[in-house]
Symmetry: C2
Subunit: 219 residues, 2 copies
Amino acid sequence: MKSPPVRGRRQGRSTSRELILASARKLFAERGFTATSLREIARDAGVDPALVHHYFSGKDELFNACVELPADPGEVLADASKTPAAERGEALLRALLTLWDSSAQPALVALLRSATGSTPQSSLVRTVLFKRVLSQVLAGLPGNDDELALRGSLAASTVMGLMMARYLLRIQPLTSATHDELVAWFAPTLQNHLIGPLPDTSNTPARHGPGPESADGVF
Amino acid sequence: MKSPPVRGRRQGRSTSRELILASARKLFAERGFTATSLREIARDAGVDPALVHHYFSGKDELFNACVELPADPGEVLADASKTPAAERGEALLRALLTLWDSSAQPALVALLRSATGSTPQSSLVRTVLFKRVLSQVLAGLPGNDDELALRGSLAASTVMGLMMARYLLRIQPLTSATHDELVAWFAPTLQNHLIGPLPDTSNTPARHGPGPESADGVF
DNA sequence: GTTTTAATTCATCACGTGATGAATTCCTCT
DNA sequence: AGAGGAATTCATCACGTGATGAATTAAAAC
């Protein structure tokens, strides 16, 4: 028989706040922001829904607390930014993989998933993240602004593709590959994007991209 | 003043079904499945919510109708699969870009967005899509199964990164680039993934991937 | 030892959701 | 002209959501 839960404070030191955060990170990462309810989180954490409101005053703030990374990405990338340009691609990739395979993984997955949305949070999150991360990665590289924007977007596209395949969609053999294997497969491309020669696009006649409604300039 | 809507059937031929589909595609693509409500769709289409249930019996079926592509991707990719291996990368990329810049775009964006989720629909959709698309792309390429799985996942990762950057996140300059520019930037990598030499990964000591909970084998 | 503060649950609120069945108006077929 | 069906809206239903305030119990502060 199930003992009815007692009211009031429990004995001993409480871990509820951490339990809630862990469950929230997990579920936000799995299902995304909107599709995850506070009550599911509370159920997963074995806690009353109202307790969530007690610690984090609402769903938005809970989410913010979730994506507040355990490790500062700027710090992690700082080392990579200091390596010589010839090895910047590999260094960047290794730093990112180490970060993503750390305890920060659920938060990062939640971030990436939410960044693909177009809610207010998403666009804020991705603007901030892209500006912070990319500006750091591109720091000190040669080239004018247009060229750097191109290089940055190529690198971002490659990294996003890898992270999505490995951590979100869990496509084999990328998911179970070692860092060394991934570096062997992706670092050359990344390196090329960052400081390699840009392909010739001199004959570019007409634009037929996806229309002008790409309003919010991320860069 | 706003004229109160009349009840009953309107005069003339009705376009409501198409209006609903268009709004649904748009909103599903923008916000994702769960975050989009039938009432929003109906409002956007200028239609009573119950009409949505009349045409498509529920939300799930509406979504299915939405991602039922106007163009058959298999057909589009068939041509690319018939080009000689040396140009397969460029052909594939051009075929995909043409498809994504067609009227199928909202449906494809909805598909991609939903594929990043982990609801029942998502995993079904992505399993089917990956199996169909990838098997077609890899058809006739040399190599054993393991090698082809690796090549496929590398190519998928690159293509996904590009599609996310260009159509979901709308990162400049990828969003407004021409097909020729994108081909110049991405086709070499893709070509390498498909039939180029695979980098040496002979010294691969330890596995430290994201754990064994990568249960559902997409491949 | 008493008071204050933190942790926890309960009961409830207003609201939006997806769904259903009936009512009304028009079109098409005979 | 009349009958049957398709298109459209209305009035609901049960349910889940995020949020709030009060009640209860334990720990901390004094």
